[in-house]
């Protein structure tokens, strides 16, 4: 059962880590992504944090836009078609695949792989996108900031580190929020999968793994994603009815060992499905197969 943290006036957050409960609450009418300041204090702080750091030109990143935002839905549909490997579009180059395959075989560094992955993702949106060490470090900082709350984040804010990282990524993305989402946030799913793949490739059974086994052992969803409650909601998954402004934290990473599938990792089949599913799985399989042709770096 979902765990609710509630202190009247202070906080009202529900942590959901069961795959079936995540599905049910994500699809419940009245559950959305509408980040307006309301509700108890900590809920307001969470929303303020999202609005402060994940907004570009007055608009939130697409993964934080409401369910019925038609611009988001239409754009995601077009994007999904454009970045699907079966579209025939050039999505990556041979040299990029070689570099990632070499990383999977134990060569190179995490940073090197990160930059290549960021370049591949950035190029999907902007042919002249340029990823480098600075953009990768910036993206890592944004990802760590997004992942949870820790005291070090105050230092990042006080020193301006976070602001500068965000500004660099926005600048490279030419203030396009789709590019920004892909190169600052989405890319980490790919890099994390490559790191897992490296572990598998160096293991004893690499050549015997099926494509599904590789993909679903490597693709790990984001730690958690937020949702807001828009109408009073009664659900058997939480003891008392949820009120408007309650925040649901869908803990995808914790649920993943129970449901390692496209539905959980990409929310496939749901209103908030990730448009990059075919692209990411296609890229990873190409890298994996290439890596099997190479020998392990010693």
């Amino acid at each position: 059962m979902a765990r609710r943290i509630r202190l009247p006036g202070i906080v009202d957050v529900v942590l959901v880590s069961d795959p079936a409960e995540i599905r049910a609450l994500n699809d419940a009418r009245g559950v959305d992504r509408n980040f307006v300041l309301r509700g108890p204090l900590i809920n307001r702080l969470i929303v303020a944090r999202i609005r402060r750091w994940f907004k570009i030109m007055g608009q939130l990143l697409p993964s934080l836009m409401p369910r019925y935002d038609h611009v988001r839905a239409d754009h995601q549909q077009k994007l999904a078609a454009a970045v699907d490997p079966i579209s025939g579009n050039t999505l990556w180059s041979n040299s990029q695949i070689d570099a990632l395959a070499a990383y999977v075989c134990g060569g190179g560094t995490d940073e090197g792989a990160g930059i290549v992955a960021q370049q591949i993702v950035g190029s999907l949106f902007d042919p002249v996108y340029h990823a480098d060490r600075a953009t990768w470090k910036a993206a890592k900082l944004i990802d760590q900031f997004r992942d949870g709350i820790s005291p070090i984040q105050i230092v990042w804010q006080l020193t301006g580190q976070l602001r500068r990282a965000r500004a660099l990524l926005v600048d490279r993305a030419k203030a396009d929020r789709w590019t920004m989402h892909g190169t600052a946030i989405g890319v980490h799913g790919i890099v994390q999968a490559l790191t897992q793949m490296r572990r598998l490739r160096c293991g004893p059974n690499a050549e015997s793994l099926s494509d599904e086994a590789v993909l679903w052992q490597c693709l790990i969803p984001p730690k958690q994603v937020p949702r807001t409650v828009e109408v009073p909601l009664e659900t058997p998954l939480v003891k008392d009815p949820l009120s408007v402004g309650s925040i649901l934290m869908l803990q995808l990473e914790a649920a993943w060992p129970r449901a390692p599938d496209a539905e959980l990792v990409f929310m496939h089949g749901h209103w908030n499905a990730c448009p990059a599913r075919a692209f990411v799985t296609g890229l990873l399989l190409v890298v994996w197969r290439r890596s099997l042709q190479e020998s392990i770096a010693t």
Binding site: P204, L209, P260
Partner: protein
């Protein structure tokens, strides 16, 4: 679905303690709490559900689901009514992403036949001298209650791998049929690891005796003329033995009938006969208190009582015999009587519904991190064929004089009936009680099971040792090191860390080269065991989570374990009886032999010749 705060803290503390000291090296009271912490940790972190679209079942019209076990295990849990039913999927103890089955070439590497021959095959019988052969028979009796993958897949191409040139196997390659796949996979299963279904009920409900469907239940309740016994008893022939199985008449006319009678041998036959007699004894006793009740009611109540008695014997006698450490004795008996102990229970009864203080029976039903099911990993660690001896001696309980000496081949399937015709049932029990099982270690796999005769319908000879290796790989059970890793145990970095036996270190290294490749079965057999344990600490981790879970998840063993559901007589029967009482009730002549036996699974003294 979260552990309580106190449990979480204790589990977290012990996770840290166990990084530098394993639980069995801690002082007794700390070790006992450590076991509780391990159980909490495993209950929340190593139970995974594989069902994606379970059936929505209509309640049966004319069956009292509230107070009786259904034949197919449905409606035990009244919210998820499909939970634990026959044909529900096996769950997992490993996180699902780690459970993809192995594919060639690793599926066949190292060669399973080589492992069977070089590491598993019995050279000399190594007995486990702290227990008797009932331990092995009981284990198989229980396994048949909990799980079966059913008939293997004859439609798909079988698994094939070459047999080494110098091998005495009569064919150049070994053929193993695949496990029957799950034919009910849906869109939600896309991309997920293969799933398998348990064709018997997952519950601890005596389904090996009572069947997992109504057809089989009527079969064991009926006379050879197919008439349902009106008094609720199970059918035994005039000599008190199980009848022969009419369905096996064409290929084995002497095969005894039981709801689950595969892999039948004399030990299994003895267990079934004993507890079928026990069922009938319970019916007789119930009839005295409830003369007006019909046969169906008597059958259902006797089944509840008999199954609960089996559970109690397993928890308080069998497991402490298998794991002879003071910590385990206390913990396992505590799972039934609670921390307050048996003496307190006998003096004051079950005073609370708290699992810790008063034991699991009567406490609240809990499913923890996943709906109840038997798991594939549990199936894997229960591969204890090494317990089975190859040679048997049947002797008279009065003077220990040998009546019959034979091999496993003579006792298998219908051979059991031949033994019953030559040896009195009490002498069969005496012979089993005074014999040792094999020790679950390397080089002790029964030779007979490594060359089972060709099956007529399949044309396939079986080396069960090689099959055991292949099955774990096929079903995606992690190999030994990965298995320990997923249980958060320390992982050996070398063969020297895996086992203290220097010969085995060399043998394992020669075949596996890399310790990460060691199979779960060979690893657990080779592993240096905790003091007093017959099994490895690795296997024990699965035992500790699943042993309690089989009781804690079952409504009839927890919230509905009460006089209202069982009758006052039923609860009394369970609480006042044990294996010794069952043996003496149905084989009273064994009284002198059992007089000084503390645990019926310990070796019995031999009669003076």
């Amino acid at each position: 679905m979260l552990a309580g705060f106190f449990e979480t803290v204790i589990a977290a503390i012990y996770r840290r303690i166990n990084r530098w000291r394993v639980w069995y090296r801690l002082p007794f009271p700390i070790a006992v709490i450590n076991l509780l912490a391990l159980r909490v940790d495993l209950r929340w972190r190593n139970l995974f559900d594989t069902e994606t679209a379970p059936p929505d079942l209509p309640a049966p019209d004319s069956f009292d689901i509230r107070h009786c076990r259904t034949a197919d295990g449905t409606f035990n849990d009244l919210s998820k009514t499909w939970m634990g039913m026959a044909d529900a999927r096996f769950g997992r103890n490993a996180p699902l992403p780690q459970t993809f089955g192995e594919q060639p070439p690793s599926l066949y590497e190292p060669n399973p036949r080589v492992i069977s021959r070089e590491l598993l095959a019995r050279t000399n019988f190594i007995p486990a001298t702290t227990v008797n052969l009932f331990l092995a028979a009981w284990l198989q009796f229980m396994v048949h209650d909990w799980l079966s993958h059913g008939v293997n897949d004859t439609q798909s191409p079988p698994l094939r791998f070459p047999v080494p040139a110098d091998d005495d196997w009569p064919k150049p390659e070994m053929t193993i049929l695949r496990t029957c796949p799950d034919h009910q996979r849906g869109p939600r299963d896309e991309g997920r690891p293969a799933s398998y279904r348990n064709i018997v009920t997952h519950w601890w409900d005596g389904s090996q005796m009572y069947g997992s469907d109504l057809r089989m239940q009527y079969c064991v309740r009926s006379s050879p003329t197919k008439e349902l016994l009106p008094d609720g008893k199970l059918y035994l022939d005039e000599t008190g033995h199980l009848p022969v199985d009419p369905e096996a008449a064409d290929h084995d006319p002497l095969q005894e009938l039981a709801a689950v009678n595969g892999n039948w041998w004399i030990g299994l036959s003895a267990m079934h006969t004993l507890f079928t007699r026990e069922h009938n004894a319970i019916v007789d006793r119930l009839k005295i208190d409830y003369p007006d009740k019909d046969g169906e009611w008597l059958f259902q109540k006797a089944r509840l009582i008999n199954a609960a008695l089996i559970v109690k014997i397993h928890a308080t006698e069998w497991t402490p015999a298998l794991l002879q450490s003071s910590t385990l004795q206390y913990a396992m008996r505590g799972s039934w009587w609670g921390a307050l102990g048996e003496a307190y229970f006998k003096a004051f009864g079950r005073s609370t519904h708290d699992e810790l203080l008063s034991g699991i029976p009567g406490s609240s039903t809990e499913q923890y991190a996943a709906p109840y099911s038997i798991t594939e990993e549990f199936t894997a660690v229960y591969r204890l064929h090494s317990l089975i001896p190859d040679d048997y001696s049947f002797r008279q309980h009065s003077d220990d004089k040998e009546i019959l000496a034979c091999t496993m081949a003579d006792l298998f399937a219908g051979g059991t009936t031949k033994v019953h015709r030559k040896v009195l049932f009490d002498d069969v029990l005496y012979s089993i009680g005074t014999s040792y099982p094999g020790a679950p270690v390397l080089h002790n796999y029964p030779l007979h099971l490594r060359r089972l005769p060709e099956k007529i319908d399949q044309g396939i000879m079986t080396d069960l040792a090689a099959t055991d290796i292949v099955r774990d790989r096929e079903r995606g059970v992690p190999r030994y090191c990965a298995f320990r890793r997923m249980l958060r145990m320390s992982v050996p970095k070398s063969f020297q860390e895996l086992t203290e036996n220097e010969t085995w270190q060399k043998e394992l290294e020669k075949i596996y080269q890399d310790v990460e490749r060691v199979d779960l079965l060979t690893g657990t057999l080779a592993e240096t065991k905790p003091p007093g344990f017959a099994i490895s600490d690795t296997s024990f981790r699965i035992f500790i989570v699943m042993a309690g879970r089989r009781i804690k998840s079952d409504r009839f063993l927890t919230s509905d374990y009460n006089p209202h559901v069982y009758t006052p007589l039923g609860i009394d029967w369970v609480e006042k009886n044990g294996m010794r009482e069952v043996l003496l009730r149905h084989a009273p002549s064994l009284h002198p032999v059992l007089r000084n036996v503390r645990n019926s699974f310990f070796p019995w003294p031999r009669a003076a010749s």
